[in-house]
Chain length 201, copies 2
């Protein structure tokens, strides 16, 4: 390997490390203060950078937000695969596992809760991202739910479309009360009760 | 009535009208941009006031936020009474009516959705307001749910505490998807499906 190649690789590694550090810092500030409340200067400082140094990696707060969301999606896909509904014979088990996992990452749950609420406004840079996230999620899950209904594993007197909406609603809503009182609200256990309802138990 | 009394009443009326106008404007800006994003200068302008004029009525943005929330609670109590669960023999009917009412006031629903999410952070001025709002709501409803369970109107294999948490979660979560796609997500109908599940139908 030439000296030039070595230097290049080191630069690329440094850039990647810097970006990871920035995304981590941005996630924390967005989770605490929302996208609108978070300041680029604070994020830069937390990542040991000047603000121009930060802007060298991400040209704007919007670019940084999209990077944070893309990184979260990548990690979640690796962990849970494309559909959240789980294997046949045990429908909704993967969603249950996701809720249990979420209890271990309150910062991330808070990040998504605040960003989703902010981005209801059409002008918010993450508006389309979250709208499509719900649409894609529901679309992917609907087939699995229909199969579960056909096999008598899930109540079939409620349309599968409605079930997907209810599942996401219950997850989102439980997260809010759990974030306020994590010691008191047993999110995973209560989601489990809801799943039992949907199974017709 | 003396001239002085007339002048006083007119001043009091003007003050009340100004405050109402400010609260209305603040509600709209908070709903769009959250408490953190909203600017006092914009709220003042929308209420036809200078910023010092606004500060004469509300000493800070926090005072204004608390006034907005108090006003919402007052209106809701007038409309729905202390418990949201409705009369005996038809449990959960009032919650169903509340969801139907909410479909007619998307601006208010958006206001609460963004403020609740922001106020998860402990330093947020509405943090205690919303935490207590959930606590009081669940506490008030739990007795009605227990009575419904005792009379066989509500499934009794799920603890009433869990049912109250699930009811608020489903309402909050449905609101999010509905705010993104009001034409597509039939919030009241889907909440009705959930109520049927809880009734054991």
């Amino acid at each position: 390997m030439s000296k030039l190649q070595q230097t290049r690789r080191t630069q690329a590694e440094r850039t990647r490390a810097s970006k990871e550090k920035i995304i981590q810092a941005a996630s924390e500030f967005f989770a605490q203060q929302g996208y609108r409340g978070a300041k680029m200067a604070d994020i830069a400082k937390a990542a040991n950078l000047t603000e121009p140094g930060l802007l060298h990696h991400f040209a704007s707060k919007t670019h940084l937000l999209m990077a944070v969301l893309a990184e979260r999606d990548r990690v979640d896909r690796e962990r849970f695969g494309p559909s959240l509904l789980g294997e046949m014979g045990n429908p909704l088990s993967s969603l249950q596992k996701l809720v249990e996992y979420n209890e271990t990452v309150p910062g991330l749950v808070q990040l998504f809760t605040i960003l989703v609420a902010e981005s209801i406004q059409e002008q918010h840079p993450a508006h389309n991202f979250f709208m499509q996230r719900y649409q894609n999620g529901r679309e992917q899950d609907i087939e699995v739910l229909r199969q579960g209904q056909a096999q008598g594993e899930i109540r079939s007197d409620i349309p599968a479309e409605d079930l997907t909406i209810m599942l996401y609603a219950m997850m989102d809503g439980l997260q809010i009360q759990w974030l306020f009182e994590p010691e008191k609200i047993d999110m995973a256990r209560i989601f489990g009760q809801f799943v039992r309802l949907l199974r017709g138990e």
